[in-house]
């Protein structure tokens, strides 16, 4: 049970505080309701570029990191399709520095041509490192546009084309900031060795005077229902063939999220998953195989991916996956297997909330979903999933016409 206090400032900033006196530290997390789905299709990668720029100095403070480090703090951030999340931990006695820094970069950034130019370069190298210079690194650049035709989930957070980032101007950067970074578009959480009253006082002091800005209205194109199976074959310089399959599913806040999540755990949660047992241990078709759901705000994907063993035909491997998955549509999962995936979830939930930084980030995220208190109901929601519910979601979603399949073939192998 994570108990917390909540306050909303006049400018719309929501604040959540959870006290934990077992630590000398405080964690501070701030979530902005902006992700790569909010980007112009001709200017993708902006949200992530911003995450970089946010460390380059703000309205009144030339450097972000140095004052934080002097106070013994440490910080980082991440961007995904839906959100941008900044976080730090700092000795509790110096927490005010955290409020000072975070509020100033909400107030305004130091938009400099030089910083922009450098961060563009850094991101190009990030793109090279993660997407180009890695075997299978570009998979999401290929799979996403297969699954999504209209919705901005069709590009990854880094952007669909790195030239978008190279072309961004300072004006565009500043527009993006003022139309997304604003108190009513953010959620702040503070966890650790701090009294709620003191945290609220500091929040009022530092964030209270940041004025509300007009947030760009979000009018995202809806993704049409997929009606036909899609298959794409790529041939690349990779050591072995790999298979990727994506089915459309629902939103993170839909009731069947929990059922779907457990369904993927039945398939591939740990080494005892069905796909691993059947296709790696028994049939020796895949060397590795995983399944997960993306859990996005807008309708997401259920993804299964695996690397093939030497000498296995990729279409046969695909058939084998379908066979295992199809079984979920017809036969009831035994109770002890359901218990297994639920127990595993409960343990991971307890572990993840044994640390103040995770607690801070989770509080932000659940508040973003609608209500931070819902976090405490998660275990029960997972527990309430029945084998019949799994059959139902399997029937609803796991159909060939709802699926995109990517055959990622090895050129080397093809040559042999």
């Amino acid at each position: 049970m994570i108990d917390f206090n909540k306050l909303c400032l006049n400018n719309g900033l929501r604040i959540l505080v959870h006290e934990d006196i077992s630590t000398p530290l405080v964690a501070l997390s701030i979530l902005y309701d902006v992700g790569s789905r909010d980007e112009d299709p001709e200017m993708t990668g902006m949200a992530h570029l911003f995450e970089h720029l946010m460390f380059g100095g703000s309205a009144n403070i030339p450097e972000f990191d140095k004052p934080l480090q002097i106070a013994g703090g440490e910080s980082n951030a991440f961007t995904n399709n839906d959100i941008t999340n900044y976080y730090m931990t700092i000795p509790s006695r110096n927490i005010e520095t955290g409020f000072w820094l975070e509020s100033d970069r909400m107030l305004g950034l130091d938009f400099s041509q030089k910083n922009l130019a450098i961060q563009k370069n850094v991101i190009i190298e990030e793109f090279n490192q993660r997407y180009l210079n890695q075997p299978y690194g570009d998979v999401m650049l290929k799979l996403r546009p297969m699954a999504y035709k209209n919705h901005p989930y069709r590009w990854p957070t880094i952007g669909k084309d790195i030239s978008h980032i190279s072309k961004v101007t300072l004006n565009q950067v500043s527009d993006f900031f003022y139309s997304h970074y604003s108190p009513q578009n953010a959620i702040l959480s503070i966890t650790g060795n701090i009294k709620a009253k003191y945290a609220f006082m500091l929040a009022e002091k530092w964030f209270g005077s940041v004025e509300k800005r007009g947030i760009a209205t979000r009018d995202l194109p809806e993704e049409p229902t997929q009606t036909e199976e899609q298959i794409l074959t790529l041939e690349k310089d990779v050591p072995s063939d790999a298979l990727y399959k994506a089915w459309h599913v629902g939103r993170r806040i839909d009731a069947d999220f929990y059922t779907l999540d457990l369904l993927t755990d039945v398939l591939a949660g740990g080494e005892s998953g069905r796909l691993y047992n059947a296709l790696t241990r028994e049939k020796k078709i895949f060397s590795d195989i995983t399944a997960y759901i993306t859990g996005d705000i807008d309708p997401g994907l259920l993804i299964i991916s695996g690397n093939l063993m030497e000498g296995i035909d990729i279409e046969i491997a695909d058939e084998a996956v379908i066979q295992v998955v199809d079984k979920l549509r017809f036969s009831r999962i035994p109770n002890n297997e359901m218990d297994k995936v639920k127990n595993k979830f409960e343990a991971s939930f307890v572990f993840s909330n044994s640390n103040i930084l995770n607690k801070a980030m989770n509080l932000c995220y659940f508040e973003f979903l609608g209500n931070a208190g819902a976090m405490n109901k998660e275990v029960d929601l997972y527990r309430s999933v029945s084998p019949e519910m799994v059959i139902e979601v399997a029937r609803n979603y796991i159909n060939p016409s709802n699926c995109s399949t990517l055959f990622y073939r090895s050129k080397k192998k093809a040559r042999k």
């Binding site: 450098i118 991101i123 218990d339």
Partner: protein, 427 residues
């Protein structure tokens, strides 16, 4: 009310590491040492089972790591499928761990499952059977990983770095070769397992809200196996660095080049080590380090660059690592050498040193925040025969070190002619 002073940092207090407790220690009836770290508020525990079963003990590449990874692939009482189902059923998070000197298992669990956890671990450590079929699956999988690894310039450079620095025949430096995958067989693993996964090579570190039956249960499941006399490590494991300092590894089509620079150095047991850590942090140990500032934040050559000082049982080493855009390779190298020389010739400025001192002290606070972090930190001192006093000494050194000493350390330990320069990429 006074207007808000946004340009001035709120007053900060000195970062203090507070009190770091030593774990309680005792021995099982067969002499296995156990360390208990009571901390945290959740009903969860972490147990580290540590064995002297690392790479240093293997005769053949892949032997130590495969022996470790096969621990969960079948025991006398449970086959691989059942064993893994049990692990998942009880919600256990079980990490296999193989390092140069040690190997073992770290397990996280909800306290109510303690007896089941220990029963499973007893099976895993004392009744492992290394079935042929599971071994085949595992080796095939590892062979695939191996091929994928060899596609990454960072792995090519890193493996070559260890080979150059520790020698191609030493277990610290030996690179895995394709033919090694054919040499591993069940008997080799059984032999390795019985020799090294034994009570005399074992230690246990437990952290969390410790269950009251823990000690009794540990004796029940692990105290019953007799210890043999320990055999000293065979001599012949002599570190012999390669003569050639510069190596280029061709990787066709690579858009980035991996750079690894470094050499052997003092280990954690050496009195200069804490000072070395301060020096390393200034050079490349944090986001605002000189290498990051210069090569990422000023030039944009890379997504990241870092330097590390680390220790194995027989030797310490230092390494600078980065992946840079192909066309920046030469420039990045020049800048790295320039930064090292700057540390040898110019005093670190007060503000920079102050930042580094405080962030390092903050890091020590984080290293003891919560039971799991405490276990990790204690372990990394204990492995070198040290205890948590090491961290007090480190904190003290951080507080008192002066620019003079940092410059001396840079001159003593960063002789540029001694550094190995490994480059992997396309020409």
């Amino acid at each position: 009310m006074r207007p808000l002073q946004r340009k001035i940092q709120p007053e900060i207090m000195p970062v203090s590491i507070g009190k770091i407790p030593e774990p309680d220690s005792f021995s099982l009836s067969n002499g296995v040492p156990v360390y208990l770290i009571e901390a945290g508020s959740e009903e969860i525990m972490r147990i580290d089972f540590i064995f002297k079963a690392g790479l240093i003990h293997e005769d053949l590449s892949l032997q130590a790591s495969t022996a470790n990874m096969m621990l969960l692939e079948g025991t006398q009482n449970y086959n691989a499928v059942t064993l893994n189902r049990l692990i998942d059923y009880y919600g256990l998070y079980l990490n296999l761990l193989v390092e140069k000197d040690r190997a073992g298992v770290i397990i996280f669990f909800l306290n109510r499952h303690i007896e089941k956890v220990l029963e499973i671990c007893q099976e895993v450590f004392h009744r492992s059977v290394f079935p042929e079929d599971e071994l085949k699956v595992l080796l095939n999988k590892r062979l695939q990983w191996y091929h994928i690894d060899r596609e990454r310039v960072r792995n090519l450079a890193m493996d070559q770095f260890f080979e150059s620095v520790f020698g191609k025949d030493h277990p610290y430096g030996r690179q895995v070769q394709l033919q090694d995958f054919n040499k591993i067989s069940p008997p080799l693993l059984v032999e390795f397992h019985s020799k090294f996964y034994s009570p005399e090579n074992m230690a246990i570190i437990i952290a969390g809200k410790i269950h009251s039956d823990t000690i009794t249960l540990l004796n029940k499941y692990f105290g019953i196996f007799p210890s043999k006399a320990t055999v000293p490590m065979e001599a012949g494991n002599v570190i012999k660095s390669e003569k050639r300092k510069k190596t280029f590894i061709e990787k066709k089509g690579a858009v980035q080049t991996a750079i690894r620079l470094g050499s052997t150095t003092i280990s954690k047991r050496h009195p200069d080590y804490p000072g070395m850590l301060v020096l390393n942090t200034i050079l490349g140990g944090y986001f605002g380090s000189r290498l990051m500032k210069n090569i990422r934040e000023e030039k944009g050559y890379t997504y990241g660059i870092s330097s590390v000082v680390s220790s194995f049982e027989l030797s310490g080493y230092k390494i600078i690592g980065t992946e840079v855009g192909k066309k920046y390779t030469k420039k990045a190298l020049d800048e790295i050498y320039k930064e090292i020389m700057l540390l040898q010739t110019r005093h670190v400025e007060f503000v920079e040193l102050k930042v580094v001192k405080n962030l390092m002290l903050g890091e020590i606070v984080r290293m003891f925040d919560g039971p799991f972090a405490m276990a990790e930190s204690f372990k990394s001192a204990w492995e070198f025969g040290l205890d948590n006093n090491y961290y007090y000494n480190l904190a003290q050194k951080i507080e008192i070190i002066e620019p003079d000493e940092i410059m001396e350390l840079a001159k003593t330990y960063y002789d540029i002619d001694e550094l190995y320069e490994i480059i992997a990429g396309s020409r």
